[in-house]
């Protein structure tokens, strides 16, 4: 039995991970680990890719997700609390405004079977790998 897991590890994925490693190393040197909003984590196995993101304080229908080829885009906005004349900020650390972020996926996905969940301000999108790209299992016949 051969499990062609290497398939999704070479080529694009490898060079791209190398880039990520380099950028991480650089940001460690400068003491910064900031990324464009919203921050994402990506989980990969041979069958699917899961992207999670922390986008607290907005409704699920305010997040727009689109997939084109190997690119996944997240778009949305979070409004600031409306302030009256006699109100003042003592601290202002939370982000607000519009965001747009594009994430490169490691492989083509079945766009009709994308599953997105939004709970407690955490978005989780699972994208199954396109059938044609799935690693194939090869059975060995014994004589």
């Amino acid at each position: 039995m051969i499990w062609t897991e290497r398939n999704y590890n070479n080529g694009f994925m490898e060079s791209w991970r190398e880039l990520e490693r380099m950028s991480n190393a650089l940001s460690r040197l400068s003491g910064r680990t900031a990324h464009e909003f919203p921050l994402i984590n990506m989980w990969v196995d041979a069958e699917s890719v899961t992207i999670t993101s922390e986008i607290p304080g907005i409704d699920a229908d305010e997040i727009e997700i689109s997939v084109v080829g190997k690119s996944l885009s997240l778009r949305g906005s979070r409004k600031q609390d409306e302030m009256k004349d006699n109100e003042a900020y003592h601290r202002r650390e939370r982000w607000n405004g519009r965001f747009s972020k594009t994430v490169e996926l490691p492989f083509n996905v079945q766009t009709d079977r994308v599953d997105a969940k939004f709970s407690k301000g955490v978005l989780s999108i699972t994208l199954p790998r396109a059938e044609v790209e799935k690693p194939k299992k090869i059975d060995i016949k014994s004589e």
Binding site: A34, N41, W43, D45, T52, I58, R94, P106, F118
Partner: protein, 135 residues
């Protein structure tokens, strides 16, 4: 493009020296907005992954402590290919002034955002003095 690019990061909480936590988790500082209004002070904190059951707000004397527990959900058999944020608990401590009516503090949480309303005591509410223009 009319999109504003923002860079953000999740800040880890610093522990006092010699202090250890019982939970082997990372701990982050939630980002907050504090808004002073006429009748009250509103504290808004971003705590994604937290809901009403996993949030503890303790007021002891003048110290307000916010603790949130987050359970990490790792998809089975997957490996982490990109990691821009860490997952962990939240912890932050504030000192309140005497001007807060501690009996009427109200807290709600929605979509991972905590909203604390701290009403001012009657004595400190700002009084507006109308100014009349003299003829």
């Amino acid at each position: 493009m009319s999109v504003t690019m923002k860079e953000i990061e999740k800040k880890e909480a610093q522990l006092r020296e010699g202090v250890e936590r019982t939970r082997a988790r990372r701990v982050y500082i939630p980002s907050v907005d504090i808004i002073e209004r006429e009748e009250d002070i509103v504290l808004v904190a971003d705590m994604p992954g937290v809901d009403d059951k996993s949030l503890d707000i303790v007021l002891e004397k003048d110290t307000l402590t916010i603790d949130g527990r987050v359970e990490e959900a790792i998809p089975e058999g997957h490996r982490l290919a990109v990691s821009q944020y860490g997952i962990g608990d939240y912890h932050r401590v504030f000192t309140l002034s005497d001007e807060i009516d501690k009996e009427r503090i109200n807290a709600t949480v929605k979509h991972g955002v905590l909203r604390l309303t701290l009403p001012k005591t009657e004595a400190v509410k700002t009084r507006k003095i109308p100014v009349r223009a003299e003829a």
